[in-house]
Amino acid sequence: MAKVVKEDVVCPFCGTLCDDIKIIIEDNEIIEVDNACAIGTAKFYSSNVSEHRYTKPMIRNNGKLEEASWDEALNKAAELLANAKRPLSYGWSSTECDAQRKAVELIEICGGILDNTASVCHGPSILAIQDVGCPTSTLGEYKNRADLVLFWGSNPVHAHPRHMSRYSDFIRGYFRVDGRLDRTIIVVDPRNTHTAQIADMHIKINPGEDYELFNAIRAILRGAELDVKKVAGVPVKQIKELVEILKSCKFGVLFFGLGLTMTKGKHRNVDAGISLVRELNDHTKFNLTPMRGHYNVSGANIVFTWSTGYPYSIDFSKDYPRYNPGEFSAVDILKTNDFDVTLVIASDPASNFPKDAVINMLKKPLISIEPHKTPTSEMADIVLPPAIAGIECEGTAYRMDKIPLRLRKVKNAPEGCMADAEIVEKLIEKVKELKGE
């Protein structure tokens, strides 16, 4: 069969959503991926049928996962969800917006809890944004204008490998004609990360003291003299130097990562970061953007927000949506055993949640919608194999700067796989039938 070349494909891996990928397909198999980073390339290749991929629904019988028909697996999953008194649904960030929209309907009918991966990613950033706002812009704007890029608790070389070459570092922009030479890059991180190694300045901060450093910078920016000589391991002299650099740039941008959201202080670290950016706007133009991980976690927040009012950690038990991370967030619900069934889609909480939460999750029925074998799916009671969104079916995804991009279908899904949205739609029908609605 002839080779098919697809160009300008959007990569469904991280929040950077690179849209210049070239894919070569032969006999419905991806044989070449150009322009993508190592992770994106691995993601495209992973869609080829292999021993790592499910192509048939599975049901656990006597402790072993066995192949089953779609009807059987869907009926069983729908029964579990329809009879549940407190079902928990988690994931939704590595799929497209249509499936996310249907997720809201499904969990609303079930009277359950709907959470996406933001809850262990940039959820704290959202909490902070809800408290103190978010002066932000698009990646294109940064590319063309930013002459100062501050990466705080973020290591794009590893987590968003093409972010720097496409938007924030090496790329030439309209007002940044010399690319890297026209930009000052500053990295704040306790480790001398690969990103720090190619920056102009690395501020080596004590781990877990980001909040103190932010507020010290803010106080100095307001003209206060500090009583101390060092903050978070950084000499006050260096902080003053940093403040001058921040004030004197033409257009600055703060990109922050999980170094802020996962250390003690969490959303308050981001709160202080946002406040700093807000105050820098008294002196120059400054913006910020969280470095979102999953390619469509931004979309999950947006879709959930326009349909329920809330971005994640939503509880439908009272028939109307309520929101409170810490109470309705997946990790807390699992830790306190406040659930009876878990529906996981496009995510692997068995790998990514703390031990305590995983132990509880495995005690109760678990449904996994997942193309690949993961610790979660291998421990599940029902596995429903989807087509991979952005490779085997179309859809919309939101980039980290909340720009929607259309994902493309470049190859067919293995026979027997259904799109996420279709699976959720079928679950909705069956649950409605069982509930007599």
Partner: protein
């Protein structure tokens, strides 16, 4: 020896999670603990010798490695995954977010520790 443990993404971990979570790749990418060069000398072992990392919340055996992203004396790094998550602080302080980064840890060299696969770790929770 006492260290401060942090976890996070690496590009190898990212590659391994795409369809190879049950495979050898994932162990090679994530069942590791990165040490500062000088700290590693004090451990007095060969690169790749298994180490047991213990925190208040559990223990896990992973391969030792010298970091490329140093120096960071006193700090150890385990890529995100079931190995790190076996020992990180699960407390969310009412925010939904566990404290993935930042836990006190104790490290000892083990000569013949078995490094479990991702699935083996999760299976041990059942």
């Amino acid at each position: 020896m006492k260290f401060f443990l942090t976890s996070g993404r690496t590009i190898d971990q990212g590659v391994a999670l795409e369809g190879q979570k049950l495979g050898r790749e994932n162990i090679k990418a994530c069942a590791i603990c990165e040490f500062d060069k000088d700290d590693f000398k004090k451990l007095d072992c060969m690169i790749g010798t298994p180490v047991k990392v213990t925190t208040k919340f559990g223990e896990v055996v992973v391969y030792s490695q010298i970091t490329e992203q140093g120096p960071h004396p006193g700090l150890i790094f385990i890529p995100m995954g079931p190995w790190a998550n076996a020992i990180i602080d699960p407390e969310t302080y009412g925010t939904g977010m566990p404290s993935y980064k930042g836990t006190d840890a104790e490290v000892e060299v083990v000569k013949s520790g078995k490094i479990l696969s991702a699935l083996e770790i999760v299976k041990s929770y059942k």
